[in-house]
C-alpha cells in the first residue's frame, strides 16, 4: 500500500465518518432528551436521499405522500390520547401543525418540483419535507408512552423502523437512486482530488455541529432541551414541557438524518432500505460515546469511517462484518471502564 492509496483511504474514511458523525449526534440527542434508542434514524437518511434524487428528475417525491400520512396519524393520535382536555385553541394549533403544514409543504412541492430546482434549493426543499416527520413520529409512537422503560421504548423504535422501511418500499419502490452532486467543482491537492461533494460533506458537518452547539447554549429552546436531557423531572418542575423537548429533539434528528441522506445521495446509490445499515454505523459511534458525549461520538464516527474504508480495501467482502464486530471491543471496554448495572434511584 503506497502513500497515495493511504491518503485516499483516509480521505474516503473521513468523508463517510463525517456523515456517521451527524447521525451519531442525532442519536445521542434523541436518547438523552427522550430515552429513545432511535433505530429509525437511518430511515430519514434513505428518505432524504431518495427525495433529493426524485427532485433532481423533476418528479414529486413519494415522501410528500408520506408526510401527509404522518401528519394525519399524528393529529389522530393526539386527538385520541388527549380528547379529555381538548379545547378549541389546542385543536386549532394541532390542526395547523399536523394538517395544514404538510398540506402547504405538499402544495409547494407540487409547484416547485417540475421547475428542476438548482441542487442547493432541492436540498433545502428535501429538508423542509422531511423535518416535520420527526415531531409527527414522536407524537404517534413515543409521546403516548414517554414514561415507559428504555427497553419498551427501544422495542417500539424497532417497530417504527419496520413500518418506516416498509413505507419506504411502498412510496419509493425497490429501485435504487443516485442524486446529482451539489457542485461539479474539483480541487486537486497533491496526489488527492477533493470533489465539491466531499468538500460539501466536510463543510455541512462542521456547520451543523457549530449550529447545534450554538442552539444548545443560546436560544431558550436549546437550553430547555439540555435541561430535559440532564433531568427530566427537574426540567418539568421548572415548567419545561417534556413533550415539546421531545418534539424538538425528533425534529432535529429528522433534519440531521435528511441532511446526511442529501450528502450521501450523490456519492452512493441509495435504496429504500439502505438507511438501516448507515444508521447503525452512527449507532456504533454513539455507543462509543456512551450515548451521552457529543464530541466523543463525533470522533468515534470518524474512527468508524476509517475502519470501514481500510476494511473495504483489505477485505472488501468482509467489510460489514469488520465494521459491526467493532462493537465487541467497544462493549468490553465500556464494561470494564464503567461496568455498573445500577439504573435505580
Amino acid at each position: 500500500m503506497d502513500a497515495t492509496i493511504l491518503l485516499f483511504l483516509i480521505q474516503d474514511g473521513i468523508t463517510n465518518g463525517a456523515i456517521y458523525a451527524l447521525l451519531g449526534i442525532a442519536l445521542v440527542l434523541v436518547f438523552t432528551v427522550t430515552r429513545v434508542i432511535f433505530v429509525p434514524q437511518g430511515e430519514f437518511v434513505a428518505y432524504g436521499a431518495l427525495t433529493l434524487a426524485m427532485l433532481d428528475t423533476g418528479k414529486v417525491p413519494g415522501t410528500v405522500g408520506l408526510l401527509l400520512v404522518f401528519g394525519v396519524c399524528a393529529f389522530l393520535s393526539q386527538l385520541w390520547n388527549g380528547w379529555r382536555d381538548i379545547d378549541l385553541a389546542r385543536l386549532g394549533r394541532d390542526a395547523a401543525f399536523n394538517l395544514l403544514l404538510p398540506a402547504a409543504i405538499a402544495a409547494m412541492t407540487f409547484w416547485l418540483a417540475p421547475m428542476k430546482l438548482p441542487p442547493w434549493a432541492s436540498v433545502a426543499l428535501t429538508l423542509v419535507i422531511i423535518a416535520p416527520m420527526g415531531p409527527y413520529l414522536y407524537a404517534i409512537a413515543f409521546r403516548p408512552i414517554a414514561e415507559a422503560s428504555v427497553l419498551t421504548l427501544f422495542i417500539v423504535s424497532i417497530g417504527v423502523h419496520l413500518a418506516m422501511t416498509g413505507l419506504g418500499l411502498v412510496f419509493f419502490g425497490a429501485e435504487g437512486f443516485r442524486a446529482r452532486p451539489l457542485t461539479d467543482v474539483t480541487v486537486p491537492a497533491g496526489p488527492l482530488v477533493f470533489t465539491g461533494q466531499t468538500l460539501s460533506v466536510y463543510a455541512v458537518t462542521l456547520v451543523s455541529m457549530l449550529a447545534l452547539s450554538f442552539f444548545f447554549h443560546k436560544p431558550l429552546f436549546g437550553k430547555a432541551l439540555r435541561a430535559t436531557a440532564v433531568n427530566r423531572l427537574g426540567a418539568r418542575l421548572v415548567g419545561i414541557s417534556a413533550s415539546l423537548s421531545g418534539s424538538i429533539a425528533f425534529g432535529l434528528a429528522a433534519i440531521l438524518g435528511a441532511l446526511s441522506g442529501a450528502l450521501i445521495a450523490p456519492i452512493a446509490t441509495v435504496f429504500y432500505d439502505s438507511g438501516f445499515i448507515i444508521g447503525l454505523k452512527g449507532f456504533i459511534a454513539a455507543i462509543i460515546g456512551s450515548l451521552a458525549s457529543y464530541p466523543l461520538t463525533a470522533l468515534a464516527a470518524i474512527g468508524v469511517g476509517l475502519v470501514e474504508s481500510f476494511a473495504s480495501f483489505h477485505a472488501s467482502y468482509l467489510k460489514e462484518v469488520i465494521v459491526f464486530t467493532l462493537i465487541i471491543p467497544v462493549l468490553i471496554w465500556l464494561s470494564f471502564a464503567h461496568g455498573h448495572t445500577d439504573e435505580e434511584d
Binding site: L151, G159, L162, A163, G166, I284, L318, I327, E344
Partner: protein, 597 residues
C-alpha cells in the same frame, strides 16, 4: 409420582395437558391439509425461540435482537457436520448446543454488566456481523447456503414430511415449556424474576445478578439453537436469510404480542404472529394490489400499538378465561433449614471505626464510630441530611468507604460486595421499599432465603430441587407468620399498604437467617397504630436474640425501644448513649430544636 399426578389435577395444568393431547391428534386426522400441519410445525419452531425470549425479556427485563443468529448457529452447525462429515443429526445437536453456549457466554459476559440497553444494541450489531459472515464464508456455501441436509430419523424411520416431524418439534416445545416453568418456580427462578426489580435488592440478598443475567441469556440462546437445528432438518437446506435481523425482530414481536411472564404466552404469541403473517399474505394483495408489500408496515404498526395499549401482551385476554392456579402448597413439616448460631449476647457484633465518606468535596460521613453489641437494638438518629442513610449504606457495602474500617463479628468487611456481606449474616431493608409488586408476598419473602439454598438451573428444570424448595417455602411461611402477615401471604405484594410492605421487607430479611438486621427508616410513613405494632415486633425479635441497627427519624419510636442511640449531625457523631442520656444531652437538643430550646 403421586405429587406429579396431584399437580396434573390442578385445573390449569389439566387444561394445558388436554390442549397438548388435542394438538397431538391434529396431524393424525387425514382431513387436515398438509398446509395446516406445516403451519403448526412453523409455530412450534418459532415458539422454541420465543419461550427463551419471554424468559429473557418478560421475566428478566433484558432483551436481544440476536435470537435468529443463535438459530443460525444451530442450523449451520448441523448442516455442515451432516453434509460434509456424515455425522448423525442427533449427535450434531450437542455440537450445535456447545457452539451456541460458547458464543452466548462470551457475548453475554461482556454485556450483562452494562446497563440494560447495551445488550440489545450489542446483539443487533453483532447479529448483523454474523449474518454477513454466514453469507460470505466459502465453507458455509456463501449466499447459496448448504443443501442436502438429511432428515431426522427415529429408529430407522425417516421423518421427512410435515406430519411426522410435527411430533419431534412439539416434543421439544413441550419439554421447553415444562423445563422453563419448572425453572421459574424455583430458587433460581425467583432470582431471575427479581432482576426486574433492579439489582440492589437482589444483590442485598446474595443474588449474583450478573451471573443470573448471563444464565438467562445463555438459556434463551440454547433454546434458539435447538430451534435452528430442527429447522435445518425440516427444511433440509439452510441459507443466511432466516437468521438475519428481520427474523430476530419477528421473534421479539411474537414475544411482545403474546405477553410477558408466561411460558404458554410464548406459544400464543408465535401462533398469533404466524397466523397474522399468513392472513396478511392473502388479504393485503387483494386490498391494496400486488405491487407493494405492506406486510412490514402492518407488523411495525401492530407492534407499536400493542406496546402502547397492552404492554403486558395479548395473553392476558386468554388468562382471564382460565381458572386460577392453585395456591402453592406449604409443607409445614418440611425439615427446617439450618440456622446460624447467634453470637454470645453482649459481644461486639458490628463495629464501624472512623468511617468516612466523601462525595467529591462533600464529606457526608465524617470519621464516625459506631458499634452494635449482640442482642441490642441500636438506633442511628439525626436531622435530615445528617448522613444516617449514608453510614448505613457503608455498613452494608452498598457504598465504598473513603476511609475507616467496618468489621462484622470480628472480621473486616469493608470493601466487600453487598452479597458477600449478606452471606455473613447481615440482612437489610430499604428506605424506599424494594419488592416485586407482581410476585406474591410468599415469593418475595422466599427470595430472602436465596443464600440458604443451593439448587441451580439444572436441578430446577428437572425438579430435583423439591425437597430444598419445600424447606425454603416452609421457612418463608414461618417468617411471614412471625411478623404477622399470615393473612396476606398469597396476595400480590403490589396490593399491600406501605406499612405492610415495610413488614414484608423485615420478613424477607429474617428469611436470610441473619445475626444482624439493618432497618432503614422502618417506621417512615407508618400510622401510629402500625408503629406500635412494629415496635412490638422488634422487641420480640430482640428477645429471641436478634441484633438490630436502625436508622430513624421518629424520636418517640426510638426512645421507647432502643438500648443504645448514636446521634449524627452534618456527618459528625455528636452524641452516643442510652435513650435517657440522649434525651438530656444539650448538643442533641440543639441539633434537633435549635440553640434557644
Amino acid at each position: 409420582m403421586a405429587d406429579l399426578l396431584k399437580n396434573m389435577m390442578n385445573p390449569r395444568s389439566m387444561i394445558f395437558w388436554l390442549a397438548a393431547v388435542a394438538l397431538a391428534v391434529v396431524p393424525l386426522i387425514p382431513a387436515v391439509p398438509v398446509y395446516w400441519v406445516t403451519l403448526l410445525d412453523n409455530i412450534g419452531l418459532a415458539a422454541l425461540v420465543v419461550i427463551g425470549l419471554v424468559l429473557l425479556t418478560g421475566v428478566g427485563g433484558m432483551t436481544s435482537f440476536g435470537q435468529a443468529t443463535f438459530c443460525g448457529f444451530g442450523a449451520y452447525a448441523t448442516a455442515l457436520l451432516t453434509t460434509q462429515y456424515g455425522v448423525s443429526p442427533w449427535l450434531t445437536l450437542f455440537v450445535a448446543l456447545a457452539v451456541t453456549l460458547a458464543v452466548a457466554l462470551a457475548l453475554g459476559f461482556i454485556t450483562v454488566r452494562l446497563s440494560g440497553h447495551y445488550l440489545p444494541l450489542g446483539t443487533i450489531a453483532w447479529g448483523i456481523a454474523i449474518y454477513y459472515l454466514f453469507g460470505k464464508l466459502e465453507i458455509l456455501g456463501r449466499n447459496d447456503g448448504i443443501t442436502g441436509i438429511p432428515p431426522l430419523s427415529v429408529a430407522g424411520y425417516q421423518l421427512s414430511d410435515s406430519r411426522s416431524v410435527f411430533y419431534v418439534i412439539w416434543a421439544f416445545v413441550l419439554a421447553a415449556c415444562v423445563a422453563t416453568s419448572n425453572l421459574l418456580d424455583s430458587r433460581m427462578g425467583r432470582a431471575i424474576r427479581a432482576l426486574r426489580g433492579g439489582t440492589r435488592a437482589a444483590e442485598a440478598f446474595g443474588v449474583d445478578t450478573a451471573r443470573v443475567k448471563l444464565i438467562v441469556f445463555v438459556y434463551a440462546a440454547l433454546l434458539a439453537s435447538v430451534s435452528g437445528w430442527l429447522y435445518a432438518h425440516v427444511q433440509r437446506a439452510v441459507t443466511p436469510t432466516p437468521f438475519g435481523i428481520n427474523a430476530s425482530i419477528e421473534y421479539l414481536f411474537m414475544a411482545v404480542a403474546g405477553g410477558t411472564g408466561h411460558v404458554v404466552a410464548a406459544i400464543f404469541g408465535s401462533t398469533l404472529v404466524i397466523l397474522l403473517k399468513e392472513a396478511l399474505q392473502r388479504i393485503l394483495p387483494v386490498l391494496l394490489g400486488h405491487t407493494a408489500n405492506w406486510e412490514p408496515v402492518v407488523f411495525g404498526a401492530v407492534l407499536v400499538l400493542i406496546l402502547q395499549k397492552w404492554p403486558g401482551g395479548l395473553w392476558m385476554f386468554v388468562e382471564r378465561l382460565l381458572p386460577q392456579s392453585l395456591a402453592p402448597k406449604i409443607t409445614a413439616d418440611a425439615a427446617p433449614l439450618p440456622v446460624r448460631s447467634l453470637p454470645a449476647r453482649g459481644s461486639n457484633l458490628l463495629s464501624l471505626e472512623r468511617v468516612r465518606k466523601a462525595f467529591q468535596g462533600l464529606v457526608a460521613v465524617n470519621d464516625v464510630d459506631l458499634s452494635v453489641r449482640s442482642g441490642d437494638i441500636v438506633a442511628l438518629i439525626g436531622p435530615n441530611g445528617a448522613g444516617k442513610s449514608t453510614t448505613f449504606n457503608l455498613a452494608s457495602g452498598l457504598l465504598p468507604l473513603t476511609a475507616g474500617t467496618v468489621s462484622f463479628d470480628g472480621v473486616r468487611i469493608d470493601g466487600e460486595a453487598p452479597r458477600r456481606i449478606a452471606a455473613r449474616g447481615m440482612a437489610r431493608t430499604f428506605q424506599h421499599v424494594k419488592v416485586l409488586p407482581d410476585m406474591s408476598v410468599l415469593d418475595n419473602v422466599a427470595l430472602g432465603a436465596h443464600l440458604r439454598g443451593k439448587a441451580g438451573v439444572l436441578s430446577a428444570t428437572f425438579r430435583l430441587d423439591r425437597a430444598e424448595e419445600a424447606r425454603i417455602m416452609a421457612d418463608a411461611a414461618r417468617q411471614i407468620e412471625r411478623v404477622g402477615l399470615k393473612d396476606q401471604m398469597l396476595l400480590q405484594a403490589g396490593s399491600l399498604a406501605l406499612g405492610q410492605l415495610r413488614i414484608l421487607e423485615i420478613a424477607r430479611a429474617l428469611c436470610l437467617d441473619p445475626q444482624l438486621l439493618l432497618l432503614d427508616e422502618p417506621a417512615a410513613g407508618l400510622r401510629h397504630f402500625e408503629k406500635q405494632q412494629l415496635a412490638r415486633l422488634l422487641s420480640q425479635l430482640r428477645d429471641e436474640g436478634m441484633s438490630i441497627l436502625l436508622v430513624e427519624h421518629d424520636m418517640g419510636f426510638v426512645m421507647g425501644l432502643t438500648d443504645h442511640i448514636v446521634v449524627l449531625d452534618f456527618g459528625m457523631r455528636i452524641a452516643a448513649g442510652s435513650p435517657e442520656e440522649i434525651r438530656a444531652n444539650p448538643a442533641v437538643i440543639e441539633a434537633y430544636l435549635g440553640a434557644s430550646a
